[in-house]
Every structure is written in structure tokens, then in C-alpha cells.
């Protein structure tokens, strides 16, 4: 299919240009203007992304909407964009989440509004760039650049311990990505001077370098996902970040790591992937079981959801390294679904935090008496987080467990414990926060959600239910790509 219009460039640069326009509105006297421009930009961001879905040919496994221009000749680096069935849903997810975040910060953010709104728009564009880059250096530039706005968001609008969290977030991620850069440079040398990711897919590499490349990629992506044991930055970052920051972090930025495994680790180092698959599965199971238990013990709602994110992302890496179709597709669905659910969960906590300025579970109790509508929404998302059938959380987890059982019964057994732990930590938190007697005079004075908050949560609720009941439109677009990926990974490159 030929589509001459540079759609992907538009999807990347439109939010960035709007972000710069928002920065240009200057100080807080123009806050309302900044908000309006930001909302316009983010909604236009969705609109321009729609053709990506409607014109996407899901029967093809090749890259679509390809753009290829020389960027700098010195190292043969190209401005090479394209999407397939793996990256396209993630771009849509990102475009979808951005306006929600803008709206969520509408009233809550009162200082330096233009910088806040602008940072989210710029980040949205950068993340679209990460998902659509087909050139390693272009990918790396977008990948690292996405750190900058998030670093500032956590550091400027975050909680009391924000500086520690922001710097930890930045340095942790930088550590992983620098080794990935070395891997890229190595591949550039071995491929005879190419930074094209698709060239790397075809490149024959002996076993030892493959394992080293795999490990370098693993460090970059495992930190981002995050996998146990390099997950410790995530609870800190989540707790300190403002609500919008947490939503984007959980819904979008963690997906960058998962995407990296599919785009780089597995196709570039297939033999190492097979060789190390058991290790990856075990690490993922540790995340699922052990982090699930840790989540049970949290007294801070955001921390609890952060640990639950680690556990759910453990399912994603588990699914990938089963190296079968169920596993990978399930993991992809899980990524999208986790984007909606964790985003919604953080928004719910944000709703409570805006009113009471506390994230401690112990400070709440009996919220349902004062905020019935909110309690209903929160219930739905809590159930989805626990993996209730009919919600999007179930589909991905079920597919991954199906995939696991084909490999090893005991793996599947351990993976399935998530259904118990997930229900335990989510619903127990829900019970303590929402039910019971009204805990304090502060809770007594709570107001139910505003229209703005209602719209936000309703949109997310519809998405969660839609994928839960009818996931076909989502799985359909990725079939061909996943099949091709599996076929590619099964061929040795030695």
C-alpha cells in the first residue's frame, strides 16, 4: 500500500510543535491559554493518528507508512520511520493517553502550567518517535530524549522526595541505554556501516557476541519495563510524580521496554533469546510472584499500584520469552490493557489525593458513602487490575497463561498465582479505602467526582470493557507481524 503523505512524521512532530507553542505562552498569567493550546494539540494528535489504524493493512507483516530520508551521511544515519502490527497499537495508546493526562492536570496544576502541559505534549511526540523509528540512532535519540521531559515533570511538580526520585529515574535509565548504544555501535561495525534496524535483523552474529548484545539490550529494556531486580526506581518515581506523570510513566514509558524486546532483542539475537529464555521466564515469574507479595504489604496506594505494575509487566516479559504466538500476542494485549488500567488506577488515586492530599490507605475508609460514582469506577478498574473476565486485564493474562502451559505446567502454575495475588492486593486496598465506616472528618467532607473527572474515567472504563469483551480489533492488527516475528526468531543466525 502506498501512502505518500508523511503521516508518521506528522504524528511525531505535531505534538512537539504544539508543545513548543505551549512553552511560548510563558508564565502563569496565560495559564488558560496554555491549557487550551495543549488540549487542542493533544486532540489533534489523536485525530492525525486515526488514519494510522484505518489505512493499516493488517494482512501484511512488513513496515507500513515508511519514510526514509538521509539524516546524516557521516555515519549513514537515516530518518527512517515505519510501523508494523507491534508498534501501531502502542502509538495509538500513546496518542490516546496524552489528552487524558492534559485534562487530568487541568485544575490540579497551578504553577508553571505552560511548562507542565508543554512537557507532556513534547513527550508524547518523542514517544511516538521511539515506536516508529527504524534507524538505531534515531531510535536512541528519541529514547533518551524521552527522559528529559519526564525528569522535569517528576522534579518540578512531584512530591517531597522528588529530587531523589527524578535523579534515580534518570540515571537508572541512562545506565541501561548507554550499553545499548555500545551494542548499536558494535552492530554498526559488524554490519559494515549501517544503523538500520532491519539490516540488523538479517545480520548473522556468532553466539558469544549475540549473548553480549542480548545482555546490553536486556539492561536497557529491563530497567525500562522494569523487570525484577532493576525495578526499584519505579516505586520511587511513581510515588513522587504528579498524577499525570504517574499515568504516562505507567501507561506509556514502561511499554518502551517491552517494545524494545520485540523490536531489538529477539529479532537481532534470536539464538541468545532461545538460550536465555529460561532465565528471562524465571526473572518474570519472580516479578509476578514476589512483587505481587510485596504489593500486598504496601501502605501507600501509589506504591501499591507501582508494584502491581511491575507484576503485570512481569507477565509481559513472560509472554515474550515463551516464544510462541499465544505468549507474544497475550503480552501485547497485556501491554495495551495495562496502559489503560494502570492509567486509570493512578487517575483514581489522583482523584483522592487532590481532595485529601494523602496517599496512605490508612487515611481513607468509607469513601463510598461520600463518592458513590467514583467508587463504582474505582471498582471496575480494581477488578480489571485483578484480571476479572470481561475486562481487558483478563484477556492478556489468560492468553499468556495459555501460552505458558504449552511450555511447562509449573511455570503456568506460578504465573496463574497472579490471579490470586492481584485480586488480593487490589481488592484488599479497595476494601480498606472505599468500604467501612467513614474514617475521618476529612473523608466526611469529600465531594464526588466532577464532570471533568467523570469523562476521564468513563473513557477509560469504556476502553477497558471494550478490549475485555471484544479484543479482536486489537489482536487482528498484530497477527501477521507476530507470526513473522516468530518465524524469524525460530531461524538460527549463527
Amino acid at each position: 500500500m502506498s501512502f505518500e503523505f508523511p503521516l508518521l512524521s506528522l504524528i511525531i512532530w505535531l505534538p512537539i510543535i504544539f508543545g513548543i507553542a505551549v512553552f511560548a505562552t510563558g508564565n502563569d498569567r496565560n495559564a488558560q491559554l496554555a491549557r487550551s493550546i495543549a488540549l487542542t494539540g493533544s486532540i489533534l494528535g489523536i485525530l492525525v493518528a486515526i488514519p494510522l489504524y484505518t489505512s493499516f493493512d493488517s494482512s501484511l507483516a512488513t513496515m507500513q507508512f515508511v519514510e526514509n530520508h538521509v539524516w546524516f551521511e557521516r555515519f549513514n544515519v537515516n530518518y527512517h520511520l515505519g510501523v508494523d502490527g507491534i508498534s501501531m497499537p502502542l502509538i495509538l495508546l500513546n496518542c490516546f493517553i496524552t489528552p487524558l493526562v492534559i485534562v487530568a492536570g487541568w485544575q490540579v496544576i497551578k504553577t508553571r502550567v505552560s511548562q507542565y502541559m508543554g512537557a507532556f505534549l513534547v513527550m508524547s511526540g518523542i514517544v511516538n518517535g521511539v515506536f516508529s523509528s527504524l534507524d538505531a540512532i534515531l531510535f536512541y535519540v528519541f529514547w533518551e530524549a524521552s527522559l528529559i521531559p519526564m525528569f522535569l515533570i517528576i522534579g518540578i511538580w512531584g512530591g517531597p522526595n522528588r529530587v531523589y526520585a527524578a535523579i534515580k529515574f534518570f540515571l537508572y535509565t541512562l545506565l541501561g541505554s548507554l550499553l545499548m548504544l555500545i551494542a548499536f555501535i558494535y552492530l554498526y561495525q559488524t554490519s559494515g556501516g549501517s544503523f538500520s534496524i532491519q539490516d540488523y535483523h538479517q545480520l548473522a552474529i556468532p553466539m558469544t557476541p549475540q549473548i553480549l548484545i542480548f545482555v546490553a539490550f536486556l539492561l536497557a529494556f529491563a530497567v525500562k519495563v522494569p523487570m525484577w531486580p532493576v525495578h526499584t526506581w519505579l516505586p520511587d518515581a511513581h510515588v513522587e510524580a504528579p498524577t499525570g506523570g504517574s499515568v504516562v510513566l505507567a501507561a506509556i514509558l514502561l511499554k518502551l521496554g517491552g517494545y524494545g524486546f520485540l523490536r531489538f532483542s529477539m529479532p537481532i539475537a534470536p539464538d541468545a533469546s532461545h538460550y536465555l529464555a529460561d532465565m528471562m521466564i524465571l526473572l518474570s515469574l519472580v516479578a509476578v510472584v514476589y512483587i505481587g507479595l510485596i504489593a500486598l504489604m504496601q501502605a501507600d496506594m501509589k506504591k501499591l499500584i507501582a508494584y502491581s505494575s511491575v507484576a503485570h509487566m512481569g507477565f509481559v516479559t513472560l509472554g515474550f520469552f515463551l516464544l510462541n504466538a499465544y505468549g507474544i500476542e497475550g503480552a501485547m494485549v497485556q501491554m495495551i490493557s495495562h496502559g489503560f488500567i494502570s492509567g486509570a488506577m493512578f487517575l483514581c488515586v489522583g482523584v483522592l489525593y487532590d481532595r485529601l492530599h494523602s496517599r496512605q490507605i490508612a487515611d481513607y475508609g468509607g469513601v463510598v458513602n461520600k463518592m458513590p460514582t467514583f467508587a463504582a469506577f474505582f471498582m471496575l478498574f480494581a477488578m480489571a487490575n485483578a484480571g476479572l473476565p470481561g475486562t481487558s486485564g483478563f484477556v492478556g493474562e489468560f492468553m499468556v497463561i495459555m501460552g505458558t502451559i504449552k511450555i511447562n505446567f509449573w511455570y503456568a502454575f506460578l504465573a496463574a498465582t497472579t490471579l490470586i495475588f492481584g485480586a488480593a492486593y487490589t481488592l484488599w486496598m479497595y476494601k480498606r479505602v472505599i468500604f467501612g465506616a467513614v474514617a475521618s472528618p476529612a473523608v466526611e467532607e469529600l465531594q464526588d467526582i466532577s464532570k471533568r473527572e467523570f469523562v476521564l474515567l468513563a473513557i477509560l472504563a469504556i476502553s477497558v470493557l471494550w478490549i475485555g469483551i471484544y479484543p479482536f480489533p486489537l489482536t487482528e492488527v498484530m497477527h501477521a507481524t507476530v507470526d513473522q516475528l516468530l518465524a524469524h526468531v525460530s531461524i538460527s543466525k549463527l
Partner: protein, 481 residues
């Protein structure tokens, strides 16, 4: 005995510079009083004139003169043009600072011009003695510049340290050169290469000489373990002088290494490669780790310079035009970032207030978000985060290192730059996350405002479109080897 007049044409810009230095000194004497602007304007005109002369005589053909002691080739012209531009920017940035502090005297300008002349001679030298003369002219001017604020104990101490250690380094260099002369019988850069190639010289003596030469280079580049002078000098000198020391001489030092090691002793690459690896790794380690502990921004930037010089040396290790052009790209990027960073420090200074501590950056975003943004770009660039130019500089050098087969060295380099990222982030933290300590408005002159904005945006824009500068560096190297 008949006297043959040498061909002067390749050295026109140097001659013009020398004449103009005298003019500046005389003009300043006669202008006197409140008309110090004359010296400033004349200096800028001199730099422009030199730029014009160099630009007009630009050629890719190397032309030698003064019995082959002086060479004018593509690399020399390009480096010189950059030196003029850098010095000119230094003067614009520092004008307000020095006039606030009563340093706006003719000496400042004539010393800067003498130093510039020294750099030009270094860049164009094709004989060890010419190299040495250029280096000494530069160094002596710099010693005097550091001591310009003569009633300041810090500055005097810094100048003293700089002078003693610098003189020691020059001694090393001279001793090394004399050993090399002893082994080969020549000081001509081009003949040297041939004699070493023909293996007519004693290898042992040469290697000993090389060790001394590399030690001298290490001193001049402030590479560890010869870096001791840098933090004290950076801290003690007036910020305007620190800006000068930190920027243009690095370009000259690049030329110096090219002439000395690559063109002169290129046949001994196997010997100096190992030495440079040690210098590079130590510099990156010392620079990045020691910078964390600094609370004085100028000291911190001195250590940051040390680590950047380590990275620069990595570019030479691969010993091919790919590596040299990467190093040239790195040094250009580095100069651009340093200019902006020190200009930012001077921006925060007021009359009667020296911005010296990292904490002076606190709350810059609230005081003026545009300059905070420029400083953000500069810090991220120094840390090597894309899409700033600092990233591509690191990419180019790392690529050359991996190409030469030293993957472990590349891994070590990125790990040290990870440590380095911390202290640049700390400045960003001060600017964006902390509350300002003062509401004093930041009111630079228009020329500084425009130049600083352009400088910051160039760091960003050259990162988004790096081809021009990368291709330019490659062109400069390929046409001079």
C-alpha cells in the same frame, strides 16, 4: 652569503595579528580614560581582519614557508577560523563582566590577542621549535591573564601554580623534543616521519623522548594525571579569563596533538596509543568522580573539562582519519558548550556579586525561564544526552574506539559518562526544582542576549542536524593528511 627573503603569504594572518596587537596597545595608551571601548572594538576588528585573511587564502593545498617551519593547510585554516570566532565570542561574553570589575584595560585585550597569536602559530607549526614558540607565547599570555586581578589572593595563587606547573610541563616537552632530535637529527615534522619510518634512529631514545612529549601534552590538555593545575586555575582566575582558557586553547591543543603526535610521530602510533589510553581512562575517571564533590561551579567545570579531554584523547586512539575527525568534532562541540556554560555563569554575576557556587543556579527557571532553558540544553549536551550536540560528539568518538577494536574502552567511557551525568543533572535540579535565593533580575546586554541564545540553540540545532559539522570535520582532516 645572500639572504633569501622567505615567502610571507602563508603567514599573512599571523603578521597582521602581530601588527594589530601593537596597534591595540598604542591605541589604548592614547585613548586612555573612559574610552576603553576603542581597544575592544579594535580587537574585534583585528579578529575579523584575520578571519578575512585566513578565509581568502583558504586552500586545501599545504604551503610551507620559513624553511618548512611553518605550514598553511586546510586543517590550520579551519582551526584558525574557529579560534577567531571563539575568541570573538569570549570578548562579547566577557565585556560586561570585566568592565564591572575594573579589568577593562588594554592589557586584557593585548594579552588575549597575544595568546591568540600563540595559538595560530601552534596550529600552523611544522617544526618542533615553532610549536614550542607558539605554545610558550600562549602559555605566558595565559599566566598573565590569570593574574590580571592582582589584588586577589586567589588569582595570584592560581597564576603562580599555573606558571610553575606550566613551566615544568614546557620543560618536559623540551626535554622530550631534544631526545627525539638526538635520535633522529631533525625537528622538522615531515622529515621526522620519514626518518622514523626508515628505522635509522634509535628506537629506545625515541620512546623515552615520546614519553616526555606525551607528558607535556597531558599537562597542556589538563589530562589526568597531569591535571592538578586546572581546578585551581579555573577557580582562581576571573570568570572571563576562565572562559578564555577553557575554550579557544582547546582548539589549539587539538592542532598541537595533530602536528606533534600524528604528523610528526605518527610512525610510533603503537607506542603512543597505549599512553593515550591510560591518560584517557584516568582523565575520565578523575574528572567525573572528582566533579561530583565540588560545590564551586568553576571547579566543577574544571573537572568536567578533564573528563572531556579524556574523551577527546579517545578519538586519537584509533589513529585514522575517522578517529581524528571524530576528535575534531568533539573539540568543536566542546568549545561551543564551554562558551555557553561560562557565559551563563557570567550572566548570573552582577557588579559586586560573583556567581561561583553551584547553588547560584538555584531557581533560575523562576527567575528567567529562557536562560534556564539554554542552560538546560548546555548541561544535557555536556552530559551527552541526545538530541544535543554533545551526544553526537560522544557517538563519533565511541564509534571510532569500537572501530579500533577497543570495546572495553567504549564501555568504560560510557560508564564514566554515566557518573558524569549526575553532576550535570544536579545543576538542572538547582535550576528547575529549587526555589531562587534572590529575585535580582537578569539583565544582559543585547549582544550577549543574542549570542548566548544563538549559542544555546546552536548546541540543540547542530544536534538535530549534525551532518554539517561532522562532514566539515571529516573534510578538514582528510584534506590535511
Amino acid at each position: 652569503m645572500n639572504f633569501i627573503s622567505p615567502e610571507f603569504a602563508p603567514a599573512y594572518s599571523e603578521i597582521f595579528m602581530l601588527v594589530m596587537v601593537c596597534v591595540v596597545m598604542l591605541a589604548d595608551l592614547s585613548a586612555g580614560g573612559n574610552r576603553r571601548y576603542v581597544a575592544y572594538l579594535l580587537t574585534q576588528i583585528t579578529l575579523m581582519g584575520c578571519g578575512l585573511l585566513t578565509f581568502l587564502s583558504f586552500t586545501t593545498e599545504a604551503s610551507q614557508t620559513f624553511s618548512g617551519m611553518f605550514v598553511d593547510d586546510a586543517l590550520a585554516d579551519i582551526l584558525k577560523l574557529m579560534v577567531y570566532g571563539t575568541v570573538s565570542a569570549v570578548l562579547i561574553y566577557s565585556h560586561a563582566y570585566i568592565s564591572d570589575r575594573g579589568l577593562l584595560r588594554g592589557e586584557f585585550f593585548s594579552l588575549i590577542l597575544f595568546a591568540t597569536l600563540g595559538m595560530m602559530v601552534m596550529i600552523s607549526a611544522s617544526h618542533f621549535l615553532t610549536l614550542y614558540i607558539g605554545l610558550e607565547l600562549l602559555s605566558l599570555s595565559l599566566y598573565a591573564l590569570v593574574a590580571l586581578r592582582r589584588d586577589s589572593i586567589m588569582a595570584t595563587e592560581a597564576a603562580m601554580k599555573f606558571f610553575v606547573l606550566g613551566a615544568l610541563a614546557s620543560g618536559f616537552l623540551l626535554y622530550g623534543m631534544s631526545l627525539i632530535y638526538g635520535a633522529t637529527g631533525t625537528l622538522h615534522v615531515s622529515q621526522l616521519a620519514q626518518i622514523i619510518q626508515s628505522e635509522a634512529s634509535s628506537k629506545e631514545v625515541l620512546v623515552v623522548g615520546l614519553v616526555f612529549v606525551v607528558a607535556g601534552i597531558g599537562f597542556k590538555l589538563s589530562a589526568a594525571p597531569f591535571h592538578m593545575w586546572a581546578p585551581d586555575v579555573y577557580e582562581g582566575a576571573p570568570t572571563a579569563v576562565t572562559l578564555f582558557i577553557g575554550s579557544a586553547p582547546k582548539l589549539a591543543a587539538f592542532g598541537f596533538v595533530m602536528r606533534l603526535l600524528v604528523e610528526g610521530l605518527g610512525e610510533m602510533v603503537a607506542d603512543w596509543q597505549g599512553m593515550l589510553i591510560i591518560l584517557a581512562v584516568m582523565s575520565m575517571a578523575v574528572g567525573n568522580i572528582a566533579a561530583i564533590a565540588q560545590s564551586n561551579i568553576k571547579r566543577m567545570l574544571a573537572y568536567s573539562t578533564i573528563s572531556h579531554m579524556g574523551f577527546l584523547l579517545l578519538g586519537f586512539i584509533s589513529a585514522d582519519s575517522n578517529g581524528y575527525s571524530s576528535a575534531l568534532f568533539y573539540v568543536i562541540a566542546y568549545v561551543l558548550m564551554t562558551l555557553g556554560t561560562f557565559a551563563m555563569i557570567m550572566l548570573l554575576c552582577r557588579s559586586g556579586f560573583e556567581a561561583e557556587n553551584i547553588s547560584d543556579f538555584k531557581g533560575l527557571n523562576k527567575r528567567n525561564s529562557w536562560y534556564a532553558f539554554i542552560a538546560l540544553v548546555l548541561m544535557l549536551s555536556l552530559a551527552g544526552i541526545p538530541p544535543m550536540i554533545g551526544f553526537y560528539a560522544k557517538l563519533a568518538v565511541l564509534q571510532a574506539v569500537v572501530n579500533a577494536g577497543y570495546i572495553w574502552l567504549a564501555v568504560a567511557a560510557v560508564l564514566f559518562s554515566l557518573i558524569g551525568a549526575f553532576y550535570y543533572l544536579r545543576i538542572i535540579k538547582m535550576m528547575y526544582f529549587d526555589e531562587p535565593e534572590t529575585d535580582e533580575p537578569i539583565l544582559p546586554n543585547n549582544d550577549v542576549k543574542i549570542l548566548l541564545s544563538a549559542n544555546g540553540l546552536a548546541v540543540l540545532a547542530l544536534g538535530i542536524f549534525p551532518q554539517a559539522l561532522m562532514g566539515f570535520s571529516l573534510y578538514a582532516i582528510q584534506n590535511s593528511m
